[in-house]
Amino acid sequence: MSFAWAKPYQPKSELGRWFDDRLPLPRLVYGAVGGGYPVPRNLNYAWNFGVLSGIFLTIQIVTGIVLAMHYYASADGAFNSVEHIMRDVNAGWMLRYAHANGASFFFIVVYIHIFRGLFYGSYKAPRELIWMLGLVIYLLMMATAFMGYVLPWGQMSYWGAQVITGFFSAIPLVGEPIRVWLLGGFVPDQAALTRFFSLHYLMPFVIAGVVILHIWSLHIPGSGNPTGVDVRNEQDTLPFHPFYTAKDGWFVGLFLMLYCAVLFFAPNALGHPDNYIPANPLATPAHIVPEWYFLPFYAILKAFTLDFILPAKLWGVLAMFGSILLLFFLPWLDRSPVRSGHYRPVFKRFYLLLIVDVLILGWAGGATPTAAVVAISQLASAYYFAHFLIILPLISKFERPMPLPSSISASVLHGEKQESAPYGLTKTAPVAAE
């Protein structure tokens, strides 16, 4: 696929040949995730999170299909059907917790995946489209997660639906009619619940479709790597199978253990107790916040408190959407030709600051909006935009990157002598007869 030395598919059996001649599916799989996809040999563990994202998408689809067998999207019965799943359905409690925590873990791995890309310059040429398709996936995920959170029809579900659809009412003139159209009513009710369920079932398959495009566009230039240096020759790469299937396999196992630990021992740690109260259109919960993975955006939304030309509400919504849309332009905001943050001393510092900033935004999004919290979220929001719109372009202009290695193999192998005796150790064990 991507490199001249990529091994073409060789059918191992007569049946394989027969099948491949008629439908080259084995060839496609071999070239995508088999021995026919050469991958840089120096990938670190940050590169495991793409496969993990795929795993969690699969977990969500499988558990979701199963939950939909027992859930009914009725304003009167949705909450009870979720309780029915928890109490009566065989292993229903596990399947629902797997789905709810699976969403959180999907976001965890996707956030790590995104921040991997931000550090190693994965959005730079020739991988801009991979980055943008990834952002599309992220936006679809946010929509899917939001609609899924509405389905249990608890207090947080209901008021989440009310608040999120309220974003649209910020649009001048047409805002309120759009909101009413989206909800099919003046408040979230049966019509909204049914359409959210329909779309919540549809979206994961749309995501899966965009994931295919994401991987397809990845396999044209091939995977990036921690040095950001282009692959030069066969020495720089290893076949995906067995090397990265093995590495991904063990890391997936490790990560799923973490997931299971939360699933079985703290299944409600990431949720809100208020969502175990049935939806009540006449009483808002005292402290309404979105799920943890939306908190930084929620902080940006809340940071706008002054009307300035446009109403504050509209500024908040624009800024919140802008904070993601902005990332689509990242390949042209950061113009440094050096991809990897390892070789960019100034960038590296500001990258760490950005992580701190996003964490502060996340904290501010969940905190009660006192004057101090609002001030902090205003500062943090301003810094978020400044990072991408001012700091990154300036860094790429003035920064002096460190010298890059001449090739990937030069950065990992140091000549045969050193390689056979790393860290200056000489071999003490007897060498096997050859």
Binding site: V66, H84, A91, M94, L95, L238, E419
Partner: protein
């Protein structure tokens, strides 16, 4: 990584099985065990849930059923026929020779001792699951005075045994017990 290939232990050549082969098989097998463990709840969730199983027994008050009448009730969401047979119907059922029956069973085997007038069966035709006629007043009871299934024309006699038509077996007698003279617990 690949460069370790040439430091195999010397005894590896003995049986041609490398340490790495063992690790490979062990790891993949363990993943297989994990996959099976995951599939179990995914398959099990489709079995009847606790609230469905909670309907597994039902009580029927039979005090209001006069001789010759029948009622339809429900057990596990399936129709159940409770019929108070008349003396001629009991006689007719007893008269039939076992050799004439497709699914030979006597009336006594299909009722409780001393309560032979109470015929309690599932109202599910053993052909393809329709509800036979014959409980209601004036409904077609078939050629043998029991039940008649309108879907494919199965005729049941007064002991609800199959006599004519495509159904393979008699109407099923569920497990039941008389908890008193007027109450039957089915299931």
């Amino acid at each position: 990584m690949a460069t370790l290939e040439h430091v195999e232990p010397a005894n590896a050549q003995d049986d041609g099985i490398r340490r790495r082969d063992f690790i490979n098989v062990a790891a993949v097998s363990f993943a297989g065990v994990g996959a099976v463990a995951v599939v179990l709840p995914l398959v099990g969730q489709m079995s009847p849930s606790a609230d469905v199983l909670a309907l597994a027994s039902t009580e029927v008050d039979i005090s209001k059923i006069a001789s010759g009448q029948a009622i339809k009730t429900s057990w596990r969401k399936q129709p159940v026929f409770v019929r108070n047979l008349t003396a001629p119907e009991i006689a007719a059922a007893r008269k039939v020779a076992m050799s004439e029956l497709r699914d030979p069973q006597s009336l006594a085997e299909r009722t409780k001792p001393g309560k032979e007038n109470w015929l309690i069966t599932l109202g599910v035709c053993t052909h393809l699951g329709c509800v036979p006629l014959g409980t209601g007043e004036g409904e077609n009871r078939g050629d043998f005075g029991g039940y008649f299934c309108p879907c494919h024309g199965s005729h049941y006699d007064t002991a609800a045994r199959i006599r004519k038509g495509p159904a393979p077996t008699n109407l099923v007698v569920p497990e039941y017990a008389f908890t008193s003279d007027t109450v039957v617990t089915i299931g």
